[in-house]
């Protein structure tokens, strides 16, 4: 990966068996990969920043592949999300550079699912946590798959760092029963329903 100075990669895999209700036959898995790297624009206003998106593409693919390996391959993935934390010497706009390389990497490896990848971003100090939103990969309105996963680590992002996250899940919330659009009713054409 040219031009990227990666300090640390943190991966996390959760298996959820129940949440006070019946134990599920198949536990829900949530996985996240968080890459902590130098922010090349820290400490100054840089008008032209889009070239960095190209540099981030291989990292996006590597992180998405790591998630697939962790969760058992593309056929098991039903939800996804992405997010950015920006250290205090950066600006929110630097976090936005993750949209294309992070989102398209996951969609490429998942066989081009239809739904937009939900996202969030914020400037934060060392130890900041980010709640990464999660929605169904083919139909954003599927209510059972609205979820989130918290990411972060105690020593990042330092002032001149960025922390980029990708998140995937293998199914609905463990005791999903709030109605709305179900996976069985997905048309899956427009990415919404």
């Amino acid at each position: 990966m040219p031009d990227l100075n990666i300090r640390k990669i943190v991966s996390s895999c959760e298996e959820i068996f129940h949440e006070g209700g019946p134990v599920a036959d198949t536990p829900l898995q949530r996985g996240s990969v968080l890459a902590i790297l130098e922010n090349p624009f820290a400490g100054r206003y840089e008008p032209h920043i889009q070239g960095f998106m190209e540099d981030l593409k291989p990292l996006g693919l590597e992180m998405a592949q790591q998630l697939l390996d962790m969760l058992g391959g593309p056929d098991r993935i039903e939800g996804y999300g992405k997010g950015s934390l920006i250290g205090q010497a950066g600006e929110l706009e630097h976090g936005a550079l993750w949209h294309a390389p992070g989102g398209y990497a996951m969609r490429q490896l998942l066989g081009k699912p239809n739904a937009i990848v939900p996202s969030c971003k914020k400037v934060g100090g060392v130890g900041a946590r980010l709640d990464v939103p999660i929605t169904h990969i083919n139909a954003s309105y599927v209510r059972s798959h609205f979820d989130s996963m918290e990411v972060g680590c105690n020593d990042a992002p330092r002032a001149a760092e960025l922390a980029f996250a990708l998140v995937m899940t293998t199914g609905a919330r463990i005791h999903s029963r709030s109605g709305g659009l179900e996976t069985s009713d997905i048309t899956g054409k427009d990415g919404l329903r």
């Binding site: 640390k8 990669i9 991966s11 959760e14």
Partner: protein
């Protein structure tokens, strides 16, 4: 008695560089945490053997999860640690019952050998609270490069009637160790200390 597990999480940290210096190969730490029901929540029990048995189960299970997450053969594990955080309807002694009598032996099997004491910490806490798991070299506790810790935190745990039990395993020490003391090369690893 089988542990009633609500959730298991496994985190891996790889450090590729620190303060601008490359760390090659990257240092790697894994922590596996199980969130279980506290069978004694809200009541005083003299006999805590049920929790000791749960400790035995979790020592093996979580140790193996860490080794698998690092993708190493068990003998390549270099340091380990354990910790527990009890939800507010339990007592600190519940954490002690899980951690101390029986968790160590199956953990040592999972990492092959392990002559040294498994360093530990325990506390009461609420959902989202941080638990710092101490780390020490698995065969020689005085190896200075391997004194470390790893943080674990789950936004939804431990609930009042739950206990979070964590086991950490690494395949390396701190990223740029240079404070001297006993090194891995000089460690004998027989008495658990040096």
């Amino acid at each position: 008695m089988k542990a009633k597990i609500r959730k298991i999480a496994v985190n891996v940290e790889e450090i590729h560089s620190e303060i601008g210096r490359l760390v090659n190969p990257p240092t790697r730490k894994a922590v596996a945490v199980a969130v279980i029901e506290n069978p004694f929540a809200g009541q005083y029990h003299d006999d805590l053997s049920e929790l000791m048995e749960i400790g035995a189960t979790l020592g093996g299970l979580l140790g193996a999860k860490c080794v698998a997450a690092l993708g190493i053969p068990p003998e390549q594990a270099e340091s380990y640690g354990k910790a527990a955080m009890v939800g507010e309807n339990g007592e600190l002694e519940h954490a002690a019952a899980i951690l101390h009598p029986k968790l160590g032996a199956p953990l040592r099997e999972a990492v092959e050998k392990g002559a040294a004491l498994v360093p530990s910490s325990k506390k009461m806490g609420s959902p989202g609270q941080v638990l710092d798991v101490p780390l020490g070299h698995k065969d020689a506790a005085y190896v200075r490069s391997h004194f470390d810790s790893i943080e674990v935190r789950l936004n939804d745990s431990p609930r009042a009637n739950e206990i979070m039990v964590a086991v950490a395993v690494t395949d390396s020490g701190r990223p740029l160790p240079r404070v001297g003391g006993l090194t891995t090369q000089d460690a004998i690893g027989k008495d658990g200390l040096r």
